[in-house]
């Protein structure tokens, strides 16, 4: 039996880019009806890369699937009134709003709450002081890029993944669901704000990395592809591929030494260096030596041979894959994994993921493309009771999408 914990809930959103839209995407996968309210020509991310050859945004289409799309002229007074009316429309399972607005006072919490006191309103911001911020800027500010990249290389190494956006999106899900949980038990609404920069600061702080700098050793240096505080590194194979090998626990280390036939060498090294590589700290201290020790073993084997040799060895490792290889493996799969293909008129074959939370053993996979603006009339009719004559007038006046 498929369990959708948020079935029956309606969430409105008016936002763009990754954090907000990824939160409502997750809410839709958990069973909520999500109604996305956008400016009539689309938000600032409507054409964002990656795009198809025809110029359609794969980015927008992927982050905003499974949603109903309402397009309104938010500069017109009538459009603003419609947006407010939708967001605060009645129903005990409605009254939930996610936004990332800075310059839309008509969607401020104060204005909306005056119309619906029990609103669960989650606002995603750049900085807690109301200033702007995106993944690229907050990552720079919290310290990660200066410890990312090759050992000894100067300057910052930005991450390719908008990691903080994804964490922020998940935190926004938490904000919505805790808000709903609390409203279910107390009847009270809540206003919850989340700043992307706070997400990043808290993420780093919770790993202990700011506290670490207060120790005598001070700032952490760049570690390249080494794991900090333990042993793990990438290795190149005979056929020019790469594998990530880790030995974090004592058992993983023992397995790695055994399968590579290094028992005698490691014993000799331990004796002569007065170390014990079964201790994580010693593996970390001698990480360059250990990497050099194992390098020829990997360099003399193809990726396929390494896979065979490590099978059942108890070594924790993985091959590096390219995005295209992952995509191909999804297309070749039986369609039971977390990522599957769906067809979209605008984007062709889309590779989209279920919510990774498996409920009682099942992925909830019910993924459908969204067409910008296509639910405008249906939503205004269902939620606000507008009839076709009125909808026609609003289209003619340029207030809503046709």
């Amino acid at each position: 039996m498929t369990v959708k914990p948020l079935a029956g809930i309606t969430v409105f959103e008016n936002d763009s880019f990754v954090a907000g839209p990824s939160s409502t995407l997750a809410l839709s996968q958990l069973g909520a009806e999500v109604v996305k309210i956008d400016p009539i020509k689309g938000g600032p991310d409507i054409d964002r890369w990656p795009i198809t050859d025809e110029g359609r945004s794969i980015y927008w289409g992927t982050l905003n699937r499974n949603k109903r799309s309402v397009a309104i002229d938010l500069r017109s007074e009538e459009g603003q009134e419609l947006a407010q009316a939708l967001i605060t429309s009645p129903g005990e399972n409605a009254g939930v709003f996610v936004d990332n607005n800075v310059g839309r006072p008509f969607l401020s919490d104060e204005v909306l709450r005056a119309r619906r006191a029990d609103l669960v309103h989650v606002k995603v911001q750049g900085s807690a002081d109301g200033g702007p911020g995106v993944d690229y800027t907050v990552n720079a500010e919290v310290g990660i890029p200066l410890i990312t990249g090759e050992v000894g290389s100067p300057g910052p190494g930005n991450h390719a993944l908008p990691a903080w956006d994804l964490v922020c999106g998940q935190a926004a899900v938490t904000a919505v669901v805790t808000g709903l949980f609390r409203r279910a038990t107390t009847g009270e609404g809540i206003y919850e704000e989340i700043a992307l920069k706070d997400i990043a600061l808290a993420g780093v702080a919770n790993l202990g990395w700011y506290t670490e700098t207060l120790q005598p050793a001070g700032e952490r240096a760049k570690h390249g592809n080494h794991i900090f505080g333990s042993f793990g590194s990438d290795f190149r194979t005979a056929d020019g591929r790469y594998v990530m090998i880790t030995a974090i626990t004592r058992r993983q280390w023992g397995n790695l030494v055994k399968v590579t036939g290094m028992t005698d060498v490691v014993t000799a090294l331990e004796a002569s260096l007065s170390t014990d590589f079964s201790e994580e700290t010693d593996r970390y201290t001698y990480r360059d030596l250990l990497e050099s020790l194992f390098r020829p073993w990997f360099a003399s084997r193809t990726a396929e041979r390494i896979t065979t040799d490590l099978e059942g060895s108890g070594v924790l490792w993985a091959p590096y894959a390219s995005m295209g290889e992952v995509a191909q493996s999804v297309l070749d799969s039986d369609g039971s994994g977390v990522v599957r293909s769906i067809e979209s008129e605008a984007l062709g074959t889309m590779l989209v993921a279920a919510n990774p939370i498996r409920m009682d053993g099942e992925y909830l996979f019910d993924e459908r493309p969204t067409t910008f603006g296509s639910d405008t009339h249906a939503v205004l009719s269902e939620r606000l009771g507008l009839e076709s004559a009125e909808l026609g007038r609003l289209v003619d006046a340029g207030v809503i999408a046709s």
Copy 2:
């Protein structure tokens, strides 16, 4: 008024490393009482780096603060029974369990659910097939490292931040809270599993990056510190510091051109190249040219001068900071931000973050260090009614911490 949406809820955990412990840390900040059940000598992360000069784990202490710590010999039958009894102990606000176990059948969902049918049980895994996986290996498998690093550089670039662990932790929070929400409305328990590899696959898929590879352009190349699909890059300053400058929207671009005095040059370039840099795609196409164009402006100014010049300009930018600089700014602050200092007997000054979700305008900051094993007797007494004679016997038998 401080609002703690999960006040009254008790969550048990038996896990290690980042994902599980960061989820329960967040739950504790949202008001839950978290009872961490560990093996009597600690889990595999008890000594994990970063460590203090005295060898205490800053990592463990930071991720596990705000929790009650119970230490039990989980290899003994009596210890296993105690753990089961705690996790399934009665109370409508208890019966919540987060774990990442592979080899502890006595804590399987089947066994626990037979004792408490309405359990909300969230299990964090490596791979959905039950196989192992850590941030370093799943990141390799989903394709991010091969697009991370300097343009044209060979091989993978691992991220320093365990991004997937953090996203997974937040997803585990969602799993717990949606489970609670559903139990509150239906009375039913649920078993929710989340694989770290699925988190990573879904994270990439939801950005549209796998779909992107199906387009004629194919695999994305490494972009160094450039923003994909728009304009943004790092710039070195006259005093050897770095700043991240972005121009994602049309307005940000216009502001950058204006403040750097490049209006005429940009107009000339646009005319001669038949481009329009107010279009994001054109800025992206000519990103190297544009970077070169702005580089001297930044290289001839100190970071301080750049800060002054960009103030109020509407350019979206940030200075790169080191972890130590962030730490110092927290120590120098008035203590009202998301990261603040607390004192711990074991770790000295800790820099810890409130949950980034501000509830009705307030950070919920109530952070306290946890001492390993120190709540064993109190929790067993409160939850299972054990009296001191019995606790003494269990200590003598080596079943629980003293």
